[in-house]
Symmetry: C2
Subunit: 367 residues, 2 copies
């Protein structure tokens, strides 16, 4: 693997000193920011994540903050998910679509108050789309990127570690809800959420200056829990069917193609700029959709580009994420498959850089 050339443009995070001290071996770049991808090895990190607890620098989940009388209206313009029933204290996964229904991002929206929201974004400059709409529609809302850097605590021992630092009340937070907790006099949003299926929390660290004090407090409190620095794990997230914007979906795709139709209330999401475009696809359904796919044979190489899916020599889709799963003893993959071949059990072929492999459409993801 080639090296990454560091520069200010690939922004460091409030936790980078800790990440480096923990021996990070590889990065990706996400929202113009460094996101660790490997500490010991992807396989060892995976094992540890499933058995213990990890602290993840996911500061690259930058926030787009909306503040002002039109904040709620603007939030609904961005997504086909009906947000009318949403209350402060709640988080929601919200597909963000453009006027054609194409996905621009798939963030988590955090409702702080009736007139204040954070959008915790995937890898695209969503701020630019939001600012353009605000300018064009002359909305009364302030939009910017605040000094907020998420730190994720993930793994089966996450509750125990968090309770030691923030008190037992942290155990009461329900999935995709948040509450406020004190750290060194700072009042922080902590949500039960995160980009793994091993359970855990995301701390919205407001103010970069308390990043390393918090990092150090977590490691000091969790020594006997075998706490380690970790990061979103390629194998675990594929097993769990956690999509990656830019990998498994792009602005070419509708939410329905991505299997996110359950987050689209196209009939009632009045004001969403992509609503008209999605009405038809919501009624008729997409002609291709995300599927779990197993790939036969030895561990596949890294999937750094689209791998065509074939049936009878004809292209019927593509794989965009793949890895060997130690727990399931097969190659797990995420792909987009045409409706002619998307039924569970369908045998197809995938064109990897090392040649054709047999592949099977799965009923569901592995976890």
């Amino acid at each position: 693997m080639p090296q990454v050339s560091l520069s200010r443009r690939l922004r460091r995070t409030p936790f980078s000193d800790g990440v480096e001290a923990a021996g990070v071996k590889a990065y990706t770049v996400y929202n113009h920011m460094l996101l660790p991808t490997v500490f010991e090895s992807i396989e060892a990190d995976y094992r540890h994540l499933k058995d213990h607890v990890q602290v993840w620098d996911v500061a690259c989940e930058r926030q787009v903050e909306l503040r002002g009388p039109d904040a709620g209206r603007l939030m609904q313009m961005l997504t086909p998910r009906d947000l009318r029933g949403m209350l402060p204290g709640q988080c929601r996964y919200v597909p963000i679509v453009d006027e054609t229904g194409g996905m621009l991002n798939d963030p988590v929206a955090v409702k702080l108050a009736e007139d204040r929201w954070w959008i915790s974004i995937a890898d695209s400059d969503l701020l630019f789309w939001v600012k353009g709409l605000v300018q064009g529609y002359r909305l009364d809302v302030l939009v910017d990127e605040p000094d907020v850097s998420p730190l994720a605590i993930q793994g089966p021992k996450a509750d125990e570690l968090m309770a030691r630092v923030f008190g037992n009340r942290v155990r009461d937070i329900r999935f995709f809800k948040y509450d406020m907790f004190d750290f060194e006099g700072r009042n922080l949003v902590i949500a039960r959420s995160g980009y793994s299926k091993q359970g855990g929390f995301e701390i919205y660290v407001e103010g970069g200056d308390i990043g390393m004090p918090l990092w150090n407090a977590l490691f000091a409190a969790g020594e006997d829990l075998q706490v380690r620095a970790g990061c979103p794990n390629l194998i675990e997230r594929i097993e769990a069917g956690l999509l990656s914007f830019g990998n498994d979906m792009t602005d070419d795709n509708t939410p329905h193609e991505c299997g996110l139709g359950r987050f689209c209330d196209t009939a009632t999401a009045i004001g969403c700029v992509g609503r008209d475009a999605l009405l038809r696809v919501a009624r008729e359904g997409p002609v291709q959709q995300i599927r779990a796919i197993s790939i036969a044979g030895d561990p596949v190489p890294g999937c750094d580009r689209v791998w065509p899916l074939l049936a009878g020599g004809k292209r019927i889709g593509q794989v965009t994420s793949a890895a060997w799963s130690p727990d399931f003893r097969t190659n797990v993959a995420i792909g987009m498959v045409r409706m002619t071949h998307w039924d569970a059990g369908t045998e197809i072929e995938v064109e990897t850089p090392e040649g054709l492999r047999r592949a099977t459409v799965q009923e569901q993801f592995w976890l």
Copy 2:
């Protein structure tokens, strides 16, 4: 240096096969795409660039295409540079600003026709800002990212190499003009431009399928010219004062702070969304501005974060790019300096990760 984890999200380019075969050693990520940064070494690449000719994969300079009756109006909304006199066949460096006058990008605009433009962008999703404006203002213009990947030919032998592949007419292209040239039946825009001061061209390769054939044709034609794969060179671009968006300037900065006031016709750029915000700064001038800075002593380490500039122990600016220059036998740097200390010859200090160094504000860049 840590490695970069490759994935589909960090997009390959039509030239990636050639880049890999040439032995790329490091990448950065730019517009969600791989941009090579090192082949032999930064110093060896620098020497070769100044002596011979290089082929650069700068496909990451993605294009935002504007097409339709409102294309010209939209283009003027984006920039404070007055574009009224601009003709098809011309390119212009255009600061792009938001409603507060903050820099969102610093691309080259290519006017293809009265109703068709390409914006060859730096590292931000400018497409999102443009799409938001189009949606909000209901403009009659189509906006998208076409399959166009720039390939730069840079260095003193660039004219000779290009003439061998495209004919002698290529020598007649003047600076920041373009003309159309045939390659394998495809009609390509070729401009005299590029991110170095060694002279050369940018080929706007339309259609990824001809990427490698063109790459191979250039290498076959230039063997005796010692043509090599190259990339924007950190040392050369600092010597030349070529700013890097995200490194030397961000949306915190106005064009005037970046020394780009000469590209702002604030009085006449009617329709630019940032015009009101820039009127005052255009009249009164900025309070801080980009300067060339030399740093004393041994070669500095890589500048991967802001280095504070100090005078009398007080912060008066920051360095954001720095490298040892073999030709000028000093550390060359780009920084933002407050007006109290921006005069040429002012002695200041810079806080590097290896401690304080003496630094001097220069009259101009080195080239």
